[in-house]
């Protein structure tokens, strides 16, 4: 079973990897975006870690809801509402249980990803974070490691796609050949999950 501490570790591990990879995320965002994805997420997850320390939420649902709210309040851009909604909806779907099973997490995370698709209007293949998140959700039933691999492969698979949503869509065909920064950061989030599980 997964307790609040597991979810805190998930957020802390994600914050650390966003820190490490911030420059790479920003570099990916330069040719097809506006060169700030790394710094924006860094600001957001730093705020998440600080808020979790300060408020010490007691349940898995409360950890994710608080984290989502922090992202919405600090990141801005499209990433703030999208990542914020992902974590908030997942947190809400987990309810107020003290512990949840991996299956419950997989189910709740699917609700979160669905909410992101509704909010952003993106579908798989549009070259967005969805291209990492949907394969991850599908693999989450197997193991966290399988989900991490699926997310990473999904992110890499955005490279030949032409963007249809978000700022990268404005460069048209010239978005082809670049890995999507949002899908890349989504893979970091999923990797954080595997890390929290010690996998």
């Amino acid at each position: 079973m997964l307790d609040a501490d597991f979810f805190r570790r998930w957020m802390t591990a994600t914050a650390a990897s966003v820190d490490r990879e911030a420059e790479r995320l920003t570099a990916l965002d330069s040719p097809i975006g506006d060169a700030d994805h790394g710094s924006n997420l860094q600001r957001g997850f730093t705020a998440v870690v600080a808020a979790l320390e300060k408020e010490a939420p007691a349940t898995p649902g409360a950890v994710l809801t608080l984290a989502g709210r922090q992202l919405i309040s600090t990141v801005g851009g499209a990433s703030g509402p999208l990542y914020g909604t992902l974590l908030r909806r997942t947190g809400k779907a987990l309810g107020d249980a003290d512990e949840v099973s991996a299956e419950q997490l997989a189910e709740a995370f699917r609700a979160g990803v669905d909410a992101v698709m509704t909010l952003g209007g993106a579908a798989p293949g549009d070259k967005t974070m969805i291209d990492a998140l949907v394969p991850a959700v599908d693999a989450l039933g197997d193991s966290f490691t399988a989900a991490r691999t699926a997310a990473e492969e999904g992110a890499v698979a955005t490279t030949p796609l032409q963007a249809r949503k978000g700022r990268a869509s404005y460069v048209g065909e010239r978005s082809i050949g670049h890995q999507d920064p949002g899908a890349t950061s989504s893979a970091l989030l999923i990797a954080g999950l595997a890390e929290a599980a010690g996998e």
Binding site: T26, D34, A35, S79, G80, K165, Y170, G172
Partner: protein, 328 residues
């Protein structure tokens, strides 16, 4: 770059804005710029915002006759809903608040969230989306046309409507009419450098230009060998006029992207006028300068807005802001 550290660029600029303009209330910590006499009794509040790096848009357009408040985000990053909610609460006189939103995914999502939160607090909110950039041709497979130069006309004209005491629905309808009557097209001669990255956001060699750029350092739709000011004017006017098909006189905005001297902008304006005259498009008013910029990008954008008598009267109405000022 003339900065301290990238992390404080926006806060530093806000402190400077506050020092220069005591007629504005600048909340540096919460990143909200409000006209000092807000809320104005009986008037609709106008709130806009967006990523920083486009100055004087939007903070420089706060004041009587234009915006009631503005929310600056990080450089090229939409502000967060908390800022917009704070701004709405500060300017709502009970007559409601109009959110003026440039069509970018981030701006739209954050303003939507803020509108929901404001309505929860009993503030009546209406929205207008600005999407005037004709360079985005395929709106089915993109996030849709971007909001660029027309934002100035929407904020000016809707601001005058609010100052006349028009109700929220009417101010919103006028703002929509201005947007629907406007088209823009941008050209870059160089890329811009964000403070966070410190180097150009895309590679544009000297001797080449980008046609159809946005205002966030994103590349355009097409790259060509360098053209003359006259040739660029022909391309820009053609793109805008073919899409707008104006039947009324137009407001002309020849807007600098940040690093192009006024000398060149006025020369470009002369070429724009030559081409408009050839096409038989009558010009009502002209604005030349740096209004909707993209940091240190070199280049320009052209916005045309066709106006009827009412829109022209509202455009001519007094305005008193750091970035736009006449009739006072």
């Amino acid at each position: 770059m003339l900065i301290n550290v990238p992390e404080t660029v926006v806060a530093d600029a806000l402190r400077g804005l506050a020092a220069a303009h005591p007629e504005l209330t600048v909340d540096v910590e919460n990143r909200v710029i409000v006209r000092r006499d807000a809320p104005v009794a009986g008037q609709v509040g106008l709130v806009s915002g967006g990523g920083s790096g486009h100055e004087p848009l939007h903070g420089g357009f706060v004041g009587p006759g234009m915006l009631s408040a503005a929310c600056p985000g990080e450089v090229f990053t939409s502000p967060v809903p908390d800022q917009m909610l704070r701004a709405a609460a500060a300017v709502d006189s009970g007559a409601g608040v109009l959110f003026i939103v440039k069509n970018y995914t981030g701006d739209v999502l954050n303003f939507d969230m803020a509108a929901e939160m404001a309505e929860d607090e009993g503030i009546q909110v209406a929205k207008v989306l600005v999407n005037d950039d004709v360079a985005v041709t395929d709106s089915l497979y993109t996030a849709g046309r971007r909001g660029t130069g027309a934002t100035l006309f929407v904020e000016k004209i809707a601001g005058a409507a609010a100052a006349e005491g028009m109700p929220l629905e009417r101010v919103q309808a006028i703002a929509r009419q201005v947007n629907e009557s406007s088209r823009s097209f941008g050209i870059a001669l160089s890329a811009c450098s964000t403070p966070a990255k410190g180097s150009p956001t895309f590679d544009l060699p000297p001797g080449e230009l980008e046609l159809g750029i946005g205002i966030h350092g994103e590349p355009g739709r097409e790259r060509r060998a360098m053209m003359t000011s006259g040739e660029i004017a022909e391309a820009a006017v053609e793109a805008v006029v073919e899409d707008l098909q104006p039947r009324n006189p137009v407001l002309v905005l020849v807007n600098g992207m940040g690093a192009t001297p006024l000398l060149e902008l006025y020369g470009f304006n002369a070429e724009v006028h030559r081409v408009l005259a050839q096409r038989g498009v009558p010009v009502a008013r002209v604005l030349v300068g740096n209004y909707v910029t993209s940091l240190d990008m070199a280049g320009a954008s052209l916005t045309l807005c066709q106006v009827d008598e009412e829109l022209l009267r509202l455009y001519d109405a007094p305005v008193k802001t750091p970035g736009l000022r006449w009739g006072v």
